[in-house]
């Protein structure tokens, strides 16, 4: 099926096996999840504007309401927006185009995975309908998750659906990248975004089944009366945390690697430059895959464990800064002596470097056992992971949409509105999270809806953070509505408006038609998506 078919037919979209349409379906679903999760974030921030009950109905059930907001915000942002936004939307739309393939390896499985994802989103949204709303954060830690009156099944089945969708997507794209590259395209000629996806999807494929298994046992404990996580009956409550983070820390790299890949594409194209130290950056990505499975314990420093495990995991956690450092230097170096065009994708690109720097540097004390015991359960870690994972990755999705908008929609994005949206987003993010860093160091705990027992000045910082959240919300509304308006009324885009050397710009129409490429793509050994010096 073509993306460029005449008229809109719902059935064509429902039964589509075209990777580009599937990518757009992922984008719509992930933005929907993002919007609702964003509303939850606003509720959380409004509640924290002042100590005591602000908008929760009363002090006795306030905690439950707050937990439901936290649950949906966390689960929908990570499982519904960031991962599907990058490995669903961006990977689907771009992988076949960048490697010169006509489609993915298993188109029907691809269609199944997007609808599983949508089913997961619908299930997550049922949170607001059922009377016993899930209130188990996105982590679902027992024993609370087993004993709470909240609906655990909704959480578990949402994880199952989205997890299964992720596994299918991973299988599909990995096979596509390995076997369906255009003739002549070697591994060291791949786009950095392809490398980002390839490495991220390996992590996803290997680790998601562990999460699925862990939550399934949780379901059995809650509803079938088993005792897998019940220490009183031979279960191991800490094991759940281990299994959960065995997937969920690598999940950070499932988000981080394609996000970096997107920024590489933008930097190289807008600076008209080769990727600085391409091989080092690729090895950095592979290095992250290798180390990612050995760092999860830093989420459990305060749980009972032998010191040698703590120290070992501290070392591996710090070790991961080496490949990340290689990638960051490579990204920054790509700008060196480049003819830089500062347009909206590049705005997000430069902001990403700043977010990476702040998020990365604040991660170092958290990797250290001694510091982490103090900071790990405070709003410091909350601000840290929002910088490095939440905002960095969200900016990468926005940058991706803005950068490939001409290719996807056939129209140019309205630059003025996009810039207003960007500045509001960027300023708002800083106004929101810097105060949380400051009071986090002073001991403001995470996940507390009422902080009246803590110093009164925390309230002032929370007020500033809440104002920041509303600035971000305004920026997001402008950004997303600009996409819709520009898709309808933007100026017509040429096939390659950025002058890129990558296949999706040089060898396809705008938007790409059925089969992606008018002619079969055959490349030689000298071809590179970053051949700007020639």
């Amino acid at each position: 099926m073509s993306t460029a078919s005449s008229g809109f037919k719902l059935s064509e979209w429902i039964f589509t096996t075209d990777h580009k349409r599937i990518g757009i379906l992922y984008l719509i679903g992930s933005i929907a999840a993002f919007a609702v999760a964003g509303i939850m974030a606003l509720l959380i921030r409004i509640e924290q504007m002042s100590p005591g009950a602000t908008i929760v109905s009363d002090v006795y059930t306030g905690g439950e309401q707050y937990n439901v907001w936290l649950y949906f915000h966390g689960a929908a942002m990570i499982l519904g927006f960031l991962i599907p936004g990058l490995t669903g939307f961006a990977a689907n739309y771009l992988i076949p185009l960048m490697i010169g393939a006509k489609d993915v390896a298993f188109p029907r499985i691809n269609a199944l995975s997007v609808w599983l994802f949508w089913a997961g989103i619908v299930l997550a949204l049922l949170t607001f309908v059922v009377p016993d709303k899930p209130d188990v954060m996105w982590t679902g830690y027992p024993p609370y998750s087993i004993k709470t009156g909240g609906n655990l099944a909704l959480y578990v089945f949402t994880v199952h659906l989205i997890g299964f969708s992720s596994i299918l997507a991973s299988v599909n794209f990995l096979v596509t990248i390995i076997y369906m590259r255009a003739p002549g395209m070697g591994w060291m000629q791949l786009n950095m975004f392809i490398w980002g996806c390839f490495t991220a999807l390996i992590i996803q494929l290997v680790f998601v089944p562990v999460l699925a298994a862990a939550v399934t046992l949780l379901l059995f404990d809650r509803y079938l009366g088993t005792h897998f996580y019940d220490p009183a009956n031979g279960g191991d409550v800490l094991l759940y945390q281990n299994l959960f983070w065995f997937y969920s820390h690598p999940a950070v790299y499932v988000i981080f690697l394609p996000a970096m890949g997107i920024f590489y594409e933008i930097y190289a194209t807008m600076a008209k430059n080769r990727i600085f130290n391409y091989k080092a950056a690729v090895y950095g990505m592979i290095g992250i895959v290798l180390v990612s499975g050995e760092v999860w314990v830093h989420h459990l420093y305060y749980s009972g464990m032998p010191d040698w495990i703590r120290i070992g995991q501290m070392v591996t956690t710090l070790l991961i800064s080496v490949p990340v450092g290689l990638m960051t230097i490579s990204l920054f170096g790509t700008l060196y002596r480049g003819a830089i065009t500062f347009n909206i994708p590049m705005y997000y690109g430069v902001a990403a470097l700043y977010l990476l720097l702040i998020g990365g540097l604040t991660g170092i004390p958290l990797a250290m056992t001694v510091m982490s015991v103090h900071l790990g359960e405070t709003s410091f870690v909350h601000a840290h992971f929002h910088f490095i994972m939440g905002i960095f990755a969200a900016f990468s999705v926005f940058a991706a949409v803005d950068f490939w908008f001409p290719k996807i929609s056939g129209r140019m994005l309205h630059e003025g509105r996009a810039k207003i949206g960007f500045w509001l987003n960027f300023i708002g993010v800083n106004v929101t999270f810097w105060p949380l860093f400051i009071i986090g160091v002073d001991g403001m705990p995470r996940r507390y809806w009422d902080y009246s027992q803590f110093p009164a000045y925390f309230g002032n910082y929370h007020k500033v953070a809440t104002i920041g959240a509303f600035i971000v919300a305004t920026g997001m509304i402008i950004t997303i509505s600009n996409w819709l308006l520009s898709a309808v009324s933007g100026a017509k885009a040429s096939n390659n408006p950025w002058g890129s050397k990558s296949l999706e710009w040089t060898h396809t129409e705008t938007p790409p038609g059925p089969g992606n490429f008018p002619q079969d793509v055959v490349l030689d050994g000298n071809w590179s998506p970053y051949n700007y010096s020639k």
Binding site: I167, I202, L205, A213, T216, G234, G235, D236, F246
Partner: protein, 276 residues
């Protein structure tokens, strides 16, 4: 009349006798001991430090300051040495079981410490108890049979561990739990094991857990094996930790999915090429 009276008398005597017989055959309520009285609420006591400033007496009367006790995990066995039943059974069972514990070695990696909770125990009773179990300082290094130097400390120290016992004057015996307590090198409670159900494997796992901070590279495999078990508070022993296997299986499944899908794609592709 006389006959009728005799019959009545016989009936009354028979009923009285039967009633007495029933009363004798039915145990008095006082002799029934509810085992739950001795149940140790383990979660409350894990990590509790035992005998920080305590001095014990050994079989030759020499004091053993607890702070000078070898810096390694130990099995604490509360007992009394004039016991005619369970203490000897527990001690004997432990002696036999520890021969099957291969991953750690008594006297090298851990010790066994008997302490008496009976204030009437003396160095003489220690001697007879030790002889019965075949324990001596020379022949069984790492085994200590001791009593409290200060009998006043017995109740305090045993209560700290949640260990309950009482003397029954009628039965002339102590009622007490048949547990051994696995302590880490700091002298803190790591695990309680019920000696009626525990096996050598349970003891080995508990000791590995207690010395987790000090394990040597040569014990890596033993330590990894110990992760496959989790302690069952209800039963006082270790049981297989199923989620570990489920988690590991899922991880392998992920890898197989990748390899399998590559294989399937190649197969489909090869068939297509052959047809063409």
């Amino acid at each position: 009349m006389g006959r009728r009276l005799s019959c009545w008398l016989f009936l009354v005597i028979w009923l009285a006798g039967a009633a007495e017989a029933l009363a004798i055959s039915k145990p008095t309520e006082n002799s029934e001991i509810d085992p739950n009285l001795f149940r140790i609420d383990q979660e409350k006591y894990l990590g509790i430090r035992f005998g920080k400033e305590l001095t014990l007496l050994q079989e030759d009367g020499t004091p053993l300051a607890f702070e000078k006790f070898p810096d390694r995990p130990f099995i604490l066995v509360p007992a009394y040495y004039t016991c005619d039943g369970s203490c000897f059974t527990v001690g004997g069972t432990l002696r036999t079981m520890l021969k099957d514990v291969k991953a750690v070695q008594v006297g090298v990696d851990y010790n066994v410490l008997f302490v008496s909770f009976d204030k009437n125990d003396t160095v003489q009773t220690i001697d007879s108890f030790s002889k019965y179990l075949g324990i001596s300082r020379e022949r069984t290094p790492g085994w200590y049979v001791t009593l409290f130097q200060d009998p006043q400390a017995i109740q305090t120290e045993m209560s700290k561990l949640g260990y309950k016992f009482f003397w029954s004057p009628r039965d002339k015996t102590f009622f007490h739990p048949t547990v051994v307590i696995i302590m880490n090198a700091e002298g803190r409670v790591a695990r309680y094991l019920n000696m009626m159900t525990a096996s050598a494997k349970d003891i080995e796992l508990a000791l590995l857990e207690a010395k987790a901070n000090q394990f040597k590279p040569s014990e890596t495999v033993d330590y990894l094996v110990s992760l496959c078990y989790s302690y069952n508070f209800k039963e006082g022993r270790y049981t297989i930790n199923i989620p570990v296997f489920v988690g590991a299986g899922s991880f392998v499944l992920g890898i197989l999915l990748l390899l399998g899908s590559l294989g399937i794609y190649r197969l489909i592709h090869r068939r297509k090429n052959t047809k063409q």
